[in-house]
């Protein structure tokens, strides 16, 4: 459980999610990184480059200031880290269950929220866009790979995202152990 909390600290250092755009004229790909508190990329100019690509089809400009979640997420993560240590220290079965349930709930909401943002960017297109594609959706995949006009978009967890998954699994495992034995302290 302590490990589960500790692994979440990575969220402050590494991106949680990565959306890669591949096309022949981008041999290195365009890698957009989503952190819990900002949007960046493999280079400083990545976000600008993504916005330049998006403007041809009239997609809204992605500006970190317009996404309030980037402000909410850090305190939520801090809450989970602190409570993880508390749960491990106080070591009560109900606490394990509450913590993991809350985390799974937040993760589910987070993923749905991410989907909504993607839907919004993919569908709220400027009617004056230079390029229009009838019936084409520009929504990137929630997770996995998708062809969007000349690009292949790949959406996958990044380093901190992987750690978050491991962290969740560890917490689930700890909860399971706690429920089965209810005596020893797994840590």
């Amino acid at each position: 459980m302590v490990l589960a909390g500790a692994l979440m600290v990575t969220l402050f250092f590494w991106p949680m999610w990565n959306i890669t755009l591949l096309a022949p004229q981008y041999p290195d790909g365009v890698h957009m990184h989503i952190y819990i508190n900002k949007i960046g990329g493999a280079t400083k100019g990545t976000l600008q480059n993504v916005n330049i690509l998006n403007h041809y089809i009239g997609m809204k400009e992605i500006t970190p200031e317009s996404i309030p979640e980037l402000k909410y997420m850090p305190p939520i993560v801090i809450f989970f880290i602190i409570t993880a240590f508390l749960v491990a220290f106080l070591n009560k079965k109900w606490m394990y269950w509450t913590w993991i349930t809350l985390l799974l709930l937040i993760l589910a909401i987070g993923l749905y929220d991410f989907y909504l943002w993607e839907y919004d960017y993919g569908h709220s297109l400027d009617p004056k866009a230079p390029m229009k594609f009838e019936g084409e959706s520009f929504q990137p995949p929630l997770i996995g790979k998708k062809e969007i006009i000349n690009f292949t978009a790949i959406s996958l967890p990044h380093i901190a995202g992987v750690f978050l998954i491991i962290s969740t699994l560890l917490a689930m495992f700890a909860t399971y152990l706690k429920s089965r034995k209810s005596k020893t302290i797994p840590s």
């Binding site: 290195d28 280079t43 400083k44 100019g45 600008q48 480059n49 330049i52 403007h55 041809y56 230079p130 390029m131």
Partner: protein, 659 residues
Amino acid sequence: MKRQIKYLISAIVVVAFIAFIAESCNTSQQANTGALTNDAASAVYVAPGEHDEFYGFFSGGFSGQVSVYGLPSGRLLKVIPVFSQDAEKGYGYNEETKPMLNTSFGFVPWDDAHHPELSQTNGETDGRFLFINGNNTPRVAKIDLTTFETSEIIEIPNSGGNHSSPFTTENSEYVVAGTRFSVPYPQKDVAIDSYKENFKGMLTFIKMNEEEQMEIAFQVLLPAFDYDLAHAGKGKSHGWMFFTTYNTEEKHTLLEVNASQNDKDFIAAIDWKKAEEFIAQGNYKEVPAEHYVNRYDEKTHTATSTLQKTVKVLTPEDCPGLVYFLPTPKSPHGVDVDPTGEYIIGSGKLSADLTVHSFTNMLSAIENKEYETTIASVPVLKYDKVLGGVVPKPGLGPLHTEFDDKGNAYTTFFISSEVVKWKVGTWEVLDRIPTYYSVGHLMIPGGDSKKPDGKYLVALNKITKDRYLPTGPEMNHSAQLYDISGDKMKLLLDFPTVGEPHYAQGIAASKIKSKSKKIYPIEENEHAHRARGEKETKVVREGNVVRIYMTSIRSHFSPDNIEGIRVGDKVYVHLTNLEQDFDVPHGLAIQGARNAELLVMPGQTETMYWEPQREGVYPFYCTDFCSALHQEMQGYIRVSPKGSNVPLKWSMGEPDPES
């Protein structure tokens, strides 16, 4: 009559027979080269999308530029503007780079670039800088190999025809600039036939200061010979610099005859470590010598030209032990030092043999004062006391020598048009191969350093003739690539070059590739008239000077509608490219501007100067195909008559009044 017809017929038969033989000889010759091409093709084939193993930097000669080739493919990668204005890139046309071509004579938009020289660390090429000489209006340039842009040009005073330049010492402590043409010292109005009395030869040592910028450390004043080429000592001979001379006859007319009379000319050996001591002791004269140092700053994206007023001059009279002359037969051209630093090869271009001096012998001759004579306070060492060996009758017209990593030397022969491979130490000729035609310099990557990479050799030829499809009277010069990894040299490839490559330098791509910049970070742009974002764009008038702070990003300029400019204004268009993506430059051209385009790299600011001559509305547009909407990347500037009161107005994306 019958007899005459018989004669005629037999004559025709004979002619036809000769023609037939000649023709079949011709085809069999083609078949010969054809047999070679099969495995040669795979040796130079670099598959699409793959990279070459070496960079080759070729001087542009009378184009004044440097061209960069990939080797072994012979593919042209880039032309770097150095001493000549380049309309393609706006170099020498935009306000930022004009100061690069400033000299004490004013703006000189051309030069003759001969010898590229890579910077070295511990005698090995390090891939940081490339130096190159400007021959005509003596200058030395430095190219930054992270950007492949000219970052510095320094003018050489008291010099005329900067040919023995810019050869480097083994840690690039110095690069040198020896004068090919001796000139009056100080420069003044004198009779040309007062040559012996008034003319002098000057050898210049340029050092890198702490900021790795070039400045003239000192000059050495010598007799009025022609100083042709140079190379630094290395390893054991580190601390010495060697210059070849011709015209030791000190003639000023019909040199092809008059300067070819002496049996031996000299290699001048300069002890530059000793020169440093003389400088430290104050044993020099500080003389007036106005010259400009032009430096391009990567943060301001702007060059500044600074006047330097004096140089320190050392003379052999005041500095005993600074210079020695090594007699070398018949107008030596190249002087090349082997990787160990022991042998100094002097290619007497009119000599039958190749002369090799020994550094060890030179030191003992100096120690034992084995002097033949003294010229202008310079001891002339005894020829047989410095000689290390002779390569007997290797070919005709030896010019230059480079080395491989197996103890072999390769010398070019201009007259017999060939490269000859010989063994250093035994002086035995091992192999020879023809060049097409009349080879000048040759290049082996690292071939003049302590660590040659003995895989390929490039011959840089002066005459092309029939090698490629004819292109009228003027043909590009030709280079040939040879495989020298085996015992026998093998011809692999012919390729045409830009201008007249005199010399080239090669380096493993791995030493440069990873350091090559992709963009200039916009947040580091310190240009005085930058606009770091569209919010910073504006148009400012001060009297008749108008400054347009403009930005470009796919696929528009901001502003793209400008009004309030008047005929007779002095307009500066400062264009900042806001892109931060690799290989997305934007260009700018304005109708009627008597100037070249701008070509602005991501994160860079460049300025076009424009004096509108006629009223009207003039389009401007992006010249570098940047995106799917490149053709839409355009705008208009309204030019009103002189004294008009049309207000200054600028905009981008304003609602159309008609819709």
